[in-house]
């Protein structure tokens, strides 16, 4: 089974520039998550999709971050404009469904390491 694909692996941008990350989840996984992991910390959920609908975006800084999951398959996460504090690893994960309607482990991609200078 193919894993969760993410690209790019690394990105360096200047502050105030824009950047986009792409994620392709495991085929058939209905639920997709974007997490932000700052160095030395645990992952923090940014947004959760169920198929192509948003389930939870309560911690997404909506003034600069946006995400979409068209057709309920792959997803993009965008930052515009980037700030220094956005430097982190952005992890995409997928699962067959939502916790509480089953018990699922997440499958994570390798992440995109973003450095904002």
């Amino acid at each position: 089974e193919a894993g969760v694909a993410q690209s790019p692996r690394y990105k360096i941008i200047e502050k105030r520039q824009s950047v986009a990350f792409w994620c392709n989840p495991i085929s058939g996984h209905a639920t997709l998550y974007w997490y932000q992991q700052i160095l030395g910390q645990g992952p923090k959920l940014l947004i959760q999709f169920q198929n192509n609908g948003v389930v939870d975006d309560s911690q997404l800084p909506k003034d600069r971050f946006s995400a979409e999951r068209l057709k309920g398959v792959d997803s993009t996460l965008k930052i515009q404009p980037a700030k220094l504090e956005d430097s982190a690893v952005y992890l995409c994960a997928s699962s067959p469904g939502r916790q509480g309607f089953g018990n699922y482990g997440y499958t994570f991609g390798s992440g995109t390491r973003l450095t904002v200078v």
Partner: protein
């Protein structure tokens, strides 16, 4: 704020020894999961324990869950240098209308050859 808190933050042991990591959480859960993260990589799912289970095994891993104390422990027996990684507990909060996992800050494990 983080739901799960791991303890210790860092652990260094010799190969062959056992490693124990603890996780405490604040609210009722549907399940609790442990993940491993090697440096510069994504997280790998290790084991899931449901709220009505008390202990679970997978290879050299043993997880316990005490819902009365809101705590869990991960035991890695006969550790190997390849076990060097960060370990995170994650909780699926119950009741939840989103089913998201909330991760702790992690324990960094170093296994010396």
């Amino acid at each position: 704020s983080q739901q799960g808190e791991e303890d210790p933050q860092a652990l260094s042991i010799q190969e062959g020894e056992n490693a124990t990591m603890n996780c405490s959480y604040k609210t009722s859960i549907n399940n609790l999961q442990w993940y491993r993260q090697n440096s510069g990589r994504g997280l790998v799912h290790l084991i899931l324990i449901r709220s009505n289970e008390r202990e679970k095994h997978s290879g050299r891993l043993r997880v316990t869950l005490d819902t009365s104390k809101k705590s869990s422990s991960l035991l890695i027996t006969a550790s190997r240098a390849a076990d060097t990684a960060s370990y995170f507990c994650a909780t699926a909060v119950d009741p939840s209308n989103t089913g998201k996992l909330i991760f702790g800050q992690g324990t960094t494990l170093q296994v010396k050859p």
